[in-house]
Symmetry: C2
Subunit: 98 residues, 2 copies
């Protein structure tokens, strides 16, 4: 299992529209190969900064299959009008859970 | 619910000892007020970079009660010898989950 962490900086005043766009985009993620769930978090310390957390079976489910899909183009069309900066995306794998 | 995200940069070659120290420290977290779980993730893109993800009932459960506790001092004594940089800690709250 791989956790994608996308840091998304949203233009001031567009937070509500951005959150609505993410809710609208949920089926694009859940319908994609290997996607196990998607969460949106607001970062407490930085207004306008969000973290999108997506669980994938494998790294390639995100980086190859999702990014190469029509669903990805639709996702970006929904949310990118609200971006104030380029997304910063990383991936991590679980070493321990308790 | 608040998610604490601590980015921890570990000195080269000390990853195994660090992971063992985190496993040893699990009861310090789980025994603290409002702590609902703790996970350790390795960041795929950056060798030596980890994310510690801790679920808390409230922000203050982490920033006031845990950080002011003897458990926090024990946690830091276990893991800080392996740090190659100061931890970078942020918090986030869930806006959406699917």
């Amino acid at each position: 299992m791989i956790l994608e962490t996308a840091e998304l900086t949203i233009a001031p005043g567009q937070e509500g529209a951005f959150e609505a766009a993410v809710r609208q985009a949920v089926p694009l993620f859940l319908g994609s190969r290997g996607c196990k769930g998607v969460r949106l978090h607001r970062v407490v310390e930085t207004p306008g900064l969000y973290r999108l957390l997506v669980d994938w079976d494998t790294l390639e489910d995100h980086t190859v299959h999702f990014r190469g899909s029509e669903a990805f183009a639709q996702w970006r069309a929904l949310v990118s009008p609200h971006f104030a900066a380029a997304p910063a995306v990383t991936h991590s794998e679980e070493a321990m859970s308790a």
